[in-house]
């Protein structure tokens, strides 16, 4: 690698721009956390500018957990994220493995069948009608089953499996292993990057999903966190017209609670993740 060690000005300007970019990304998140930790009186006194809080309080968080049904809603979100993602991974991997095998009969047909929904979709209303007719309305399974497999993620996974060295597969075949055994004991152990990648993609989608919950769930206790938060933010937007409502600090506590858990997952998967997305993304 060429180093260009003398080029100080160049390095300095590159690094400065990068630091600026980093700050642009980091600053809003920091500010939200700051506001959520500031006592509300202090926030009002400073006219909204609390870059670094001088006084800390968890009052806003305490209040947030007192919102009606909040504990159930939080648990719902955790449940659909954990259990839903496990179902997603399981079904996607089984399907992608079969599709990636060259000796699958009618392989062309099945591939076509699985990729067409990438190009054409029914739209929100017809999907809603099907979800309603299959009796999922107002149950948490409406947030898991209708998004069981994402065609795009299936495609990435299939590409990953198809690129695994065929000799690995052949040798297992010759030793007499069945397909399930090959998948679970030979292929999956070398597929950690793709499992981490699709797990993260599905997991983030579940944690952040808002519309399915908005459309399919009417019971207050079955809502997910994002719906609760959105409702809370909008209740407060009428604050500009003097209605007594959740304070800015309470809202920001809600924002932090709805964002932090999923951000915390990322560093654990990061190592596998970058590898996985590159493998899948190049010819997505």
């Amino acid at each position: 690698m060429v180093t260009y060690s003398k080029n100080r000005i160049y390095n300095f300007s590159v690094n400065t721009i990068l630091v600026l970019i980093g700050l642009i990304c980091f600053f809003p998140m920091l500010y939200v956390v700051s506001v959520s930790l500031t006592p509300y009186e202090e926030y009002l006194r400073q006219g909204g500018i609390v870059l670094f809080p001088t006084q800390f309080t968890f009052e806003a968080y305490r209040q947030f957990w007192k919102e009606p049904y909040i504990m159930q809603c939080f648990n719902n979100t955790v449940f659909i994220t954990v259990f839903g993602t496990m179902c997603n991974i399981f079904v996607t991997i089984l399907m992608a493995y079969a599709l990636s095998r060259k000796n699958l009969i009618f392989g062309k047909f099945f591939t076509f069948y699985c990729l067409t929904p990438l190009l054409i979709t029914g739209g929100v209303v017809p999907t809603y009608l099907i979800v309603r007719n299959t009796g999922l309305l107002n149950s948490l399974s409406a947030l898991i089953i209708p998004t069981l497999v994402s065609p795009y993620i299936l495609l990435i996974t299939r590409t990953f499996f198809a690129n695994i060295d065929a000799s690995l597969y052949e040798s297992a075949r010759i030793d007499g292993a069945g397909e399930f055994r090959i998948l679970f004991f030979i292929i999956l152990p070398v597929s950690l990057p793709i499992i981490a990648t699709i797990g993260l993609m599905y997991g983030v989608a579940h944690w952040n999903q808002y519309f399915a919950s908005l459309m399919y769930i009417s019971d207050s206790a079955k809502r997910t966190l994002q719906v609760v938060l959105r409702e809370m933010l909008n209740r407060a937007s009428s604050m500009e017209s003097d209605v007594v409502v959740p304070t800015r600090t309470l809202q920001m506590a809600g924002v932090v609670v709805s964002a932090v858990p999923i951000i915390l997952v990322y560093p654990f998967l990061q190592k596998h993740f970058t590898q996985g997305i590159m493998l899948g993304a190049i010819k997505g």
Binding site: V32, L94, A98
Partner: protein, 315 residues
């Protein structure tokens, strides 16, 4: 001694049993997925075809509702309605702006990260720029409140002390459209840079060494080596985005907009959603959704045909 060589039979019509043996396992593996695909991805297409040519009534359901007269009533209504052109314009404007600003920004970020020689800084910036990708639009909406609100938002506080006036980011239609575009860039640029970073990391380092020996400055190597080497990836992403030009970001717009800014940010998808779930005109909503889906489909196929001339194809 002459050994007769047994001829290996060419592909025969006989069933190749060894090929059939694992098929049962394959079918079992695909079964849950295939059933899911049929019910939740294919049936909605069928339902869209039916509902959009009928006058859907909640009581009579998909099959018993009467056919609209003429069957293309809802399509015609939409195309002739006063919403059609504003919706199309908003959709295209937002989508194009996101694409034409988003791709260069992501490429620039990838190049900057690649030029950075301080590994810790590089990794920190990379992690920070990915992070917004994990935030939901509801969360970002909350952030916009606290940053851009006219009464007590941080940015407006700064503007007030610097210039003495404030900008109604959340209520002025044309400013709000920029906020929509800007927040999308903030959320997705770091993430979209991954693919360009991957492409850059695949460039042969010898090219840079040769350029160095020839006396090229680093800025010049960006222009003459890095950019030309990733042009194909840039073209590919551009093509992909062109195929989805009618998706201007439903999730984002629906979560963030309000009635005051419909004139600039109401897009086809949000209109479809409102028509279906707020005005309960399911047939019209399905028809417009289907209309959009078909146009998108035609665009993706066309764009892919075009891209074959560039030697890049999606399938």
């Amino acid at each position: 001694m002459h050994m007769p060589i047994r001829k290996i039979p060419e592909k025969s019509l006989r069933i190749q049993w060894y090929r059939l043996k694992p098929q049962g396992a394959f079918m079992l593996m695909m079964l849950p997925g295939l059933v899911f695909y049929f019910i939740y991805l294919y049936l909605p297409i069928g339902a869209a075809l039916l509902v959009s040519i009928k006058d859907y009534g909640v009581k009579s359901g998909i099959f018993n509702s009467p056919i609209a007269s003429p069957w293309y009533k809802h399509f015609k209504f939409f195309v002739q309605s006063p919403y059609f052109w504003p919706l199309l314009r908003n959709t295209m404007l937002i989508s194009m702006a996101k694409m034409l600003l988003g791709i260069p920004l992501a490429v620039a970020l990838a190049i900057l990260l690649n030029e950075c020689r301080v590994n810790k800084l590089k990794r920190a910036v990379q992690t920070l720029t990915y992070m917004p990708h994990f935030l939901s639009w509801v969360v970002i909406y909350g952030m916009c409140f606290v940053l851009f609100s006219e009464t007590n938002g941080l940015i407006n506080d700064w503007l007030r002390s610097l210039t003495g006036s404030t900008v109604p980011f959340l209520t002025n239609p044309s400013v709000f459209r920029n906020l929509i575009i800007g927040s999308d860039l903030w959320k997705s640029t770091g993430w979209s840079a991954i693919i360009y970073l991957a492409a850059i990391s695949g460039i042969d380092p010898q090219l840079y060494e040769a350029a160095y020996i020839d006396g090229a400055s680093r800025a010049k190597t960006i222009w003459h080596i890095t950019l030309p080497s990733i042009t194909n990836v840039i073209v590919l992403t551009l093509i992909l985005r062109c195929g989805t030009i009618l998706n201007a970001g439903f999730d984002q717009v629906y979560v963030m907009y309000n009635e005051g800014v419909y004139s600039t940010v109401d897009i086809i998808d949000t209109w479809v959603f409102r028509t279906g779930f707020e005005n309960f005109n399911l047939s019209l909503s399905s028809a417009v959704g289907l209309f959009k889906s078909v146009i998108s489909f035609i665009m993706i196929v066309t764009v892919n045909q075009l891209s074959r001339h560039w030697g890049e194809s999606l399938w």
